[in-house]
């Protein structure tokens, strides 16, 4: 028999242990996605208990249901529109008073509500004793004790939830917050008008709508107006009149008074249901840890050490599995080379598919380690301290302290960096961070600087490269300030941030965290990357039949014949070897010339030549243009393309020599390095931006802005330098 489905929503404050309980309930059977239309993570999982299929939905952690943040809107709309059978409010027992604020708001929504008093053990240690029966009686709802991180009380919680869903008792209407008389009068009047005047069915319970209208909740105002049809205008007049009267009466906005009164109501409950023993010896481990970690002198050095350690782990430790993956891909393509006949299909498979996907999959170890570290920071509570320490600096760019970590990661690789921006709660901060992170020069750009600076700046190469990095940082700050005052303008999100007690991380939760995010990387990236790499490959590999200006094969054959002839004459073994080496060198030269012509005449080469006029004012020739275009697949490729186009053969020294003779100057090298620093991020980053902003438009904007900035800066430097007579 098909079991019937019950939907259970988990609500609660951030850091209330909600995620731990969710993980314990659903284990690995959870689905992580996004809420429709927004980039807030949505987690759900279905489990089977007591003859029901229980669909558990983890709502975003919020302190309130005022629709000021996306998380709050998402949580509220889910409860209102999807009407889950039961809502479990997970309450941090050691933080009861503040947790009850959300609880009173949930109570007003008239859903079937159940309290899970979590971490009661911590509360007890702090000398806080909660009378659950009293609390249950005062608020007229079931209360269950749980200890999430020890998986205690979880079964009881589910049983109570099912019992509540099965019970057909009317949702209790008493035991809600009762506001002062004047406010209650206003609520009653608006409520009556709503019930009497609605043309259609009212979307939600009328008392709640009335309360929200008095609080000037814009979302509810719109929806109520829609439901009222003709009577909307009169209703809003009534609401505005009451708001004005109340404002006169209390000398403050009604929403503020109502917040105050909710806390008053909560204070009453806490007085009755909670006893705090003052004699209890308070050893607050968290405060002791913070004596060091947010210490005036030690805080920042320790933070820098942690970040350094994370960087080391991600990029140094990650280098080993990266090498294994690379050699695995090497083995695979080696095997395929032998197994498959030479031809288009093999080239497509090897140079297009495997090379393209391979170039992304090598990042997987980095990403796993990085997300493990970030999960560790988040789960222990250190992330909030990091934001606390760095906020002053980041606020100068108009960003939140938490933006520091993604921006720093950008120096390693922009893909995990963009994904690390997930830790920011405000969407505006997240987008701004994502837009400026690519200016943190990633490690893949370094080989390009090394070749160019090494060739043209000799002993000053190090300083020049350092200058390029600084330029990236400076432009990210300028961009941050520019966007904050234009595109992403608006009231700055309040910083107000809880510093939760430190908690020992749980391996299971760390693993789930890490894996969820990495899986998303794998799934979503591969699609875009696959297509992108095939396109880049196709442009470089076609047309197949190039009309070579020189008969290269003939030349190679000629050199070989000449060798055979002279080898026959040469008697001594040593002389033969010298001849053999000479022949190899000449054959390589011809092959390089052929590869160069092939690259030049491929679609990519033609595109490069077509684009050359755009790059000309920057002092970049057509070879540079082609190299920059191929750099879209991955920045390292800029170097290898330059190598092919300058027919430089293997090794960076050969390329440096060729570049030195190519007519490039110090100024044009500088211009090209700046262009590489700033222009559009690589394919993998671009798809990460698409994914994390949830919008193709932001992705296109990022590409457009960075490329325009790159062109502008390179133009200014090159032309400015020429005017000053530098070359």
């Amino acid at each position: 028999m098909e079991s019937s489905i019950l939907t259970i929503a988990l609500a609660g404050n951030p850091n209330s242990g909600k995620t731990t309980i969710f993980n314990n309930l659903t284990g690995t059977r959870q689905k992580v996605g996004n809420w429709p239309g927004v980039t807030v993570e949505k987690k759900e999982g279905t489990i089977h208990r007591h003859g029901y299929a229980l669909k558990i939905v983890d709502l975003p952690g919020t302190y309130s249901l005022t629709p000021f943040s996306i998380e709050e809107i998402v949580a509220r709309d889910f409860i209102l529109d999807e009407s889950p059978d039961v809502v479990i409010d997970i309450i941090d027992a050691s933080n009861l008073e503040r947790s009850l604020y959300l609880a009173t708001q949930l109570r007003e929504l008239d859903c079937r509500l159940l309290f899970a008093l979590n971490m009661a053990d911590v509360a007890r240690e702090r000398g806080i004793k909660i009378d659950a029966d009293k609390l249950s009686e005062l608020l007229d709802l079931p209360v269950v004790f749980t200890v999430g991180n020890r998986n205690e009380g979880i079964d009881g919680l589910l049983e109570s939830a099912i019992a509540l869903a099965e019970s057909d008792v009317e949702i209790p209407r008493r035991r809600r917050v009762k506001y002062s008389k004047d406010i209650e009068v206003a609520i009653a009047e608006i409520r009556e008008r709503l019930v009497g005047g609605a043309t259609g069915e009212l979307p939600y319970n009328p008392r709640w709508i009335a309360i929200k209208l008095l609080e000037n909740d814009t979302v509810v105002r719109e929806r109520a107006a829609a439901a009222m049809g003709q009577g909307a205008g009169a209703l809003m007049d009534l609401v505005d009149r009451h708001r004005a009267t109340l404002r006169d009466l209390y000398d403050d906005d009604p929403e503020i008074i109502m917040t105050d009164e909710r806390y008053g109501f909560i204070a009453g409950i806490v007085r009755e249901a909670v006893t705090t023993s003052t004699t209890h010896r308070r050893v607050d481990i968290s405060r002791n840890i913070d004596l060091v970690l947010t210490n005036r002198l030690l805080g920042l050095p320790v933070f820098i050490f942690f970040i350094w350690a994370m960087f080391q782990l991600t990029f140094s430790l990650g280098a080993y599995p990266m090498a294994w993956i690379e050699s695995g891909i090497g083995l695979l393509s080696g095997g395929l080379t032998r197994a498959l006949p030479q031809g288009l299909f093999r080239d497509f498979l090897m140079d297009g598919l495997i090379a393209g996907v391979g170039s992304v999959i090598v990042f997987l170890p980095n990403i796993l380690i990085l997300f493990f570290c970030i999960a560790l920071f988040e789960d222990t509570g250190y992330m909030a301290r990091a934001a606390f320490l760095m906020d002053k600096i980041m606020h100068l760019i108009g960003l939140h302290g938490k933006s520091f970590i993604p921006m720093l990661m950008g120096f390693g690789c922009n893909v995990p960096a963009v994904m690390a921006a997930r830790t920011l709660e405000s969407e505006r901060d997240r987008i701004l961070t994502i837009l400026i992170t690519p200016f943190m020069s990633c490690s893949a750009k370094l080989p390009v600087y090394i070749i160019l600076a090494g060739t043209f700046f000799g002993a000053q190469a190090g300083s020049v490269i350092f200058g390029i990095y600084l330029m990236g940082i400076a432009l990210s700050i300028l961009t941050g300030r520019l966007f904050r005052s234009t595109l992403l303008k608006g009231e700055e999100a309040p910083f107000v941030m809880e510093l939760p007690p430190y908690r020992a991380p749980m391996l299971k939760s760390l693993m789930i965290h890490m894996w969820d995010r990495s899986k998303m990387f794998l799934k979503k990236m591969t699609g875009v990357i696959l297509v992108g790499s095939v396109v880049v490959w196709g442009l470089s590999a076609f047309p197949r039949n190039i009309d070579y200006s020189v008969d290269y094969e003939g030349r190679i054959a000629f050199i070989r014949e000449a060798y055979e002839a002279s080898a026959a004459e040469a008697s001594a073994g040593q002389r033969r070897e010298a001849l053999q080496a000479e022949m190899d060198r000449r054959v390589d030269e011809v092959r390089q010339a052929r590869d160069m012509e092939r690259a030049e005449k491929s679609y990519m080469g033609r595109l490069g030549k077509f684009m050359a006029p755009v790059f000309h004012p920057l002092g970049i020739d057509w070879r540079g243009s082609v190299a920059l275009l191929t750099g879209f697949a991955a920045k390292e490729i800029v170097v290898s393309t330059l190598g092919i186009l300058h027919a430089a053969g293997q090794g960076s020294e050969a390329l440096q020599a060729a570049l030195g003779e190519s007519g490039m100057t110090r100024l044009s090298a500088l211009s090209m390095m700046l262009f590489v620093l700033l222009y559009m991020p690589c394919l993998a980053t671009v798809s990460a931006i698409r994914r994390e902003t949830g919008s193709t438009r932001w992705m296109l904007f990022s590409i457009g802005y960075s490329t325009a900035l790159a062109w502008g800066v390179a133009f200014a430097v090159y032309q400015g330098g020429r005017l000053l007579g530098l070359a």
Binding site: F388, L389, P494, V496
Partner: protein, 93 residues
């Protein structure tokens, strides 16, 4: 009012003169008399339990002097100095 006058007033048992929260130093206590500010910020501060009458303890300032860490209703919360300056408190000796 000078510091001396303030101490005198406190000693005389008169209610302490309200100050901005950002004027309190580390390890000082205060009782909220008024939460100012605009829109979202003000609402947010109130929702986090920093309401009129709440007792606040200034735990510490960040190494760069901004933001600051407070203890209110038994939990730790941090505010920027600019945000804290909107909150008026009556110092508790």
């Amino acid at each position: 009012m000078t510091r001396a006058a303030e101490t005198e007033a406190a000693a005389a048992g008169a209610p302490a003169v309200p100050k901005r929260l950002s004027e309190l130093r580390e390890s000082q206590r205060g009782r909220v008399t008024r939460v100012g500010g605009e829109g979202v910020l003000r609402r947010r501060i109130l929702e986090m339990g920093i309401v009129k009458g709440a007792e606040i303890y200034v735990e510490k300032y960040a190494p760069l002097k901004d933001p600051l860490e407070l203890i209110v209703k038994g939990y730790h919360v941090s505010l920027r100095v600019s945000e804290a300056s909107q909150i008026m408190v009556e110092p508790i000796p």
